[in-house]
Amino acid sequence: MLENYWVLILIPLFGFAINGIFGRRFSRQVIAWLSCSTVGLSFLICLLTFWEFIQLPVDKRTISRSLFTWIQSGNLVSEFSFLLDPLSMVMILVVTGVGFLIHVYSVEYMAGEEGYYRYFSYLNLFIFMMSVLVLADNYLLMFVGWEGVGLCSYLLIGYYFEKRSAGDAAKKAFIVNRIGDVGFIIGIFLIFRQFESLEYLTVFRTVSDQFPEPTAGFGVLGAITLLLFIGATGKSAQIPLYVWLPDAMEGPTPVSALIHAATMVTAGVYMIARSAPLYTRAPETLFIVAAVGISTALLAALIAMAQRDIKKVLAYSTISQLGYMFLAVGVGAFSAGIFHLMTHAFFKALLFLGSGSVILALHHEQDLMKMGGLRKYLRVTFYTMWIATLAIAGVPLFSGFFSKEEILWKAYSSPLGNGAFWFVGVLVAGLTAFYMFRLIFLVFYGAERFEEAHHESTPHSPTEPSSLIKVPFMILAFFSIVAGFVGLPEYLGTNRLEGFLAPSFRYMPEPASVEEHGHFSESHLALIAILVTFFGIAAAYQLYIRDRQITERLAARFSLLYQLIWRKFFVDEMYDWMLVRSIRGFSRKILWKSIDVNVIDGLVNGTASLMQTWSHALKRMQSGYARVYATWILGGAILIFLYYYLTSF
């Protein structure tokens, strides 16, 4: 399998093509089988590859495989070729694994929808594009996957295209992503200009020759890395380009789970980890990355606290968690970032799937205030979501705990980190625990508020989905618990993941003399974080189980603050007003109606009408009187006479 691992990429493409072209004629079963089996097969190949991969000696764990030359122009070459190394191995496992589970989940979840074939072909295409993204061995091919997943995201967000909001959200997602992509592509240009290659290994080798040590000041590497990071902020929904992700929840819930939580949105983190040899040489950019990451984490967590839509809460939570990942890579802890990426994939996917079955059970009700008391009806969902919430909140021994602690510790201890990062990180951990438990409490505990809204349309009580849909829950829940053990902190054991990923971060600069700064040990800091987390949980319990009135009083008391958070700091409105409306208005009123129609075309038509005017003037000269004509002739003769008379002297 190791030789031909690339077939795993193509199989979903095949599924996409067949379903996409002929799907309309197929029965739902055929579509579902075809789609799931292709991704399943991919996952199987992936597992086999992984099995063979880990048996290789560590220094052989970089396998590149070229299929054909994609673009070649002069010295610019971009092969259609793939690179399997520990980093991409982890990513592809997550992508195909979670992808497969979500395919299976979708079979049932989407059963009632029109355009079943459309959904599954898009999903297959997504798996293909995501595989290309993570397995590409050069920046340009990564960009293919990068934009490709953006496309799939667009298509899937707009899946319910008859809804205007879905169309808007899809478009917004694509365009905001494209803004980031411009940064990315300019970064690629710069990479090529600097290194004359786009292939990762060549670029890294060159960069380690050119810059053996981290550069001081903001040089070309700073520019490259910053541009790439702009791309990452788009795809991974960071400030300032995060605005598309909450809206992206218009898509079907499994899509949110797969694309907007587990895989695609983490592409930015992956890209930065992939480019670690560049980033580690540009400390200024890394600081920006970390700062943007932690600010995003905080902002999104704050917003998440007040959201009423279950999926929006999860969306902001995703943004916040992505912020953590950027914090990790920003302080140079690339494997910590990837670690969190992986655990997050499991528990966030699980949370979304759980919310999906809640939504389904309540007939597409997403308002948290119209839920409650569901634990009786949705047992499996209830337990698995509890697990996932514990994981995301960072309760010890759940996967999220290990990955988050790793990040917080690195944020504090790394040469690039500092106490402030750690402090905000811990604060966000508390907020996370709060809003996640708020969600759990509002959904599963308390009074059943859904009947009021649905008593006519839902004669019978909410029900769990069938067994097929439960399988992914179980599996994801299992991993949400255990995935953390691959990366135990030092005080508990060894970080296997870090060791496994190490070959991917080979071309790092020589680390400056390792000086541990700070005065606290990892375990102490972890303890503080755990306390903060529990405080968050307790606060949620207090507010949403014990005494619901407090929330309202608080909201009334701090209404300004509450409004600010509830309206998401007015960022969307600001963007809309500053960019969308003004540009549209400018284009219509000034560029089109004034400049194009009046000025430029006016000049053209003006010339024409000027000619007509002259023509009429000349026509008038043709008065029809023979005597006037004779005057013309005489005048001409006199002019000629004058000319000769004057020139002859």
């Binding site: 000619m611 004509y629 000769y644």
Partner: protein, 476 residues
């Protein structure tokens, strides 16, 4: 320097046929009068044969009054050909408009004689006589529809202004005579070449002659009569004025300027340069606003005189050559266009507004396609003779390094495209209109139009043949 009648045989034949037709008029039954047209045609064919037979002969004949050379022969063939086409077009026209045949054809023959004389004359007297023979015949022809005010007005204006400008020409000739002591082309040229500085009278003579010829060739500012006269005259005569009379004037001008006064070239180039610019500008711009197709074509013919003038101003071999080539192309497309206009005009020339051409495209495909071809050629779009002609004219000017003149010419022809296209717009893209009387296309006209279409394309695609002939003709 003997009389050598054979050299002037074509002129003699034409004159005799003209007289013959006059004699025949009373003896021909009313219904058969159209046969006179074929008599005229026969005369022209005979003359054409004579000219062809003489091709290659060179020298001065008829007491040194007439040149025998390629240039003259080329022009003669062109004129005879154009006149023959007009005869063919006229036969049915005269029948339709109920006009007398005999007088028309004999006058046309006399006019042709005048044109031939202008093309070959070697003496200013002969040139003047040729011009007058041509003019007096066409004055009458222009007013041939005596029942119509427009025709009369046209003739009267043409006559008054023609005579007026003849006066200038004649005065010019007188001054040249006074300055050079002779009216013979070669003699004058010799005198000028020998003299060191030129008397003012010579320049005055040159200038006044330009006025005279410029009037006939409708060069600005002596073009003013053109639209009115063209509009009023019967269509075949308009065609004759636009093609024959203008070509003859140009040919005579070429001879006078290139053969008699080449030494003064820098003195006349300046005038012609200005006149060319004015002519092209006025012709093209004024045509934009026209609604009558005859009048529009009149302005168009002014514009084309401007292009010809560009070649004339260049004063080089290529220029002469391209003038000849362009005259051929211009004759083809203009005659063709007027032939179509004549047919579409129907009885009494009622349908000569451009909007009368609405939607003709699909009802009369032959006429419309033909007219489109002529208009496209007039506009100077490639693959037609009009383009090639313009190309050569502009090339000639470029060779004489008159870049700005070429640029102006180019801009002028860009403006010109609009009014030619407008007719096509009406024909193919306009709203359908009241159909009016059905159009009948008589066979002779059909033949003429077909020949013109083929010729226009031939010149555009294989310009080599005529260019070759023209290049031979340049060697005076």
């Amino acid at each position: 320097m003997d009389i050598n009648y054979t050299a002037v045989l074509p002129e003699i034949i034409l004159s005799l046929f003209g007289i013959l037709i006059m004699i025949l008029i009373p003896f021909t039954p009313k219904a058969r009068q159209s046969a006179l047209g074929f008599v005229a045609l026969f005369g022209m064919v005979l003359a054409l044969i004579c000219v062809t037979a003489q091709c290659g002969a060179t020298g001065l004949v008829f007491f040194g009054m007439i040149f025998q050379d390629y240039f003259g022969q080329f022009c003669k063939i062109l004129f005879l050909f154009a006149s023959a086409a007009i005869v063919l077009v006229s036969i049915n026209y005269l029948e339709r408009e109920k006009l007398p045949y005999g007088e028309f054809f004999s006058l046309l023959l006399f006019a042709t004689v005048g044109m031939l004389l202008m093309a070959t004359s070697a003496d200013l007297i002969m040139t003047f006589l040729g011009l007058e023979v041509l003019s007096i015949s066409t004055y009458v022809l222009a007013g041939f529809k005596e029942g119509e005010m427009k025709s009369t007005e046209s003739a009267l204006k043409y006559f008054l202004l023609g005579a007026f400008s003849s006066g200038f020409l004649l005065y010019g000739i007188a001054f040249v005579y006074g300055a050079a002591g002779s009216t013979k082309y070669l003699k004058i040229a010799q005198v000028i070449e020998a003299s060191e500085n030129y008397p003012l009278t010579l320049f005055l003579g040159l200038g006044l002659m330009v006025v005279g010829f410029g009037f006939k060739a409708s060069l600005a500012p002596f073009h003013v009569w053109t639209p009115d006269v063209y509009e009023g005259a019967p269509v075949p005569i308009t065609a004759h004025l636009a093609v024959g009379s203008k070509a003859a004037a140009f040919v005579a001008l070429v001879r006078v300027l290139y053969q008699v006064l080449p030494e003064l070239s820098q003195h006349w180039q300046a005038i012609l340069w200005v006149s060319a610019v004015l002519t092209m500008a006025i012709g093209n711009i004024a045509a934009l606003a026209q609604t009558n197709i005859k009048r529009m074509l009149a302005y168009s013919s002014i514009a084309h005189a401007g292009y010809l003038l560009v070649g004339l101003t260049a004063h080089n071999r290529l220029g002469t050559q391209s003038i000849l080539f362009y005259l051929v192309a211009y004759a083809l497309m203009t005659l063709g266009a007027f032939a179509v206009v004549q047919v579409i005009g129907r009885e009494g020339e009622k349908y000569i507004g451009i909007d009368d051409y609405s939607d003709l495209g699909y009802r009369y495909p032959f006429l419309s396609i033909a007219l489109s071809v002529f208009l496209i050629s007039l506009a100077g779009i490639p693959a037609t003779g009009g383009f090639m002609g313009k190309l050569f004219l502009f090339a000639a000017a470029m060779q004489s390094e008159m870049y700005w003149l070429v640029v102006i010419a180019v801009i002028a022809s860009a403006i010109g495209i609009y009014y030619y296209l407008r007719v096509i717009v009406f024909m193919y893209m306009g709203e359908s209109k009241d159909e009016g009387t059905p159009i009948i296309v008589p066979t002779p006209v059909r033949i003429v139009i077909a020949i013109m279409v083929v010729g226009t394309f031939y010149l555009g695609i294989f310009p080599g043949t005529f260019l070759h002939l023209a290049s031979k003709a340049v060697s005076f």
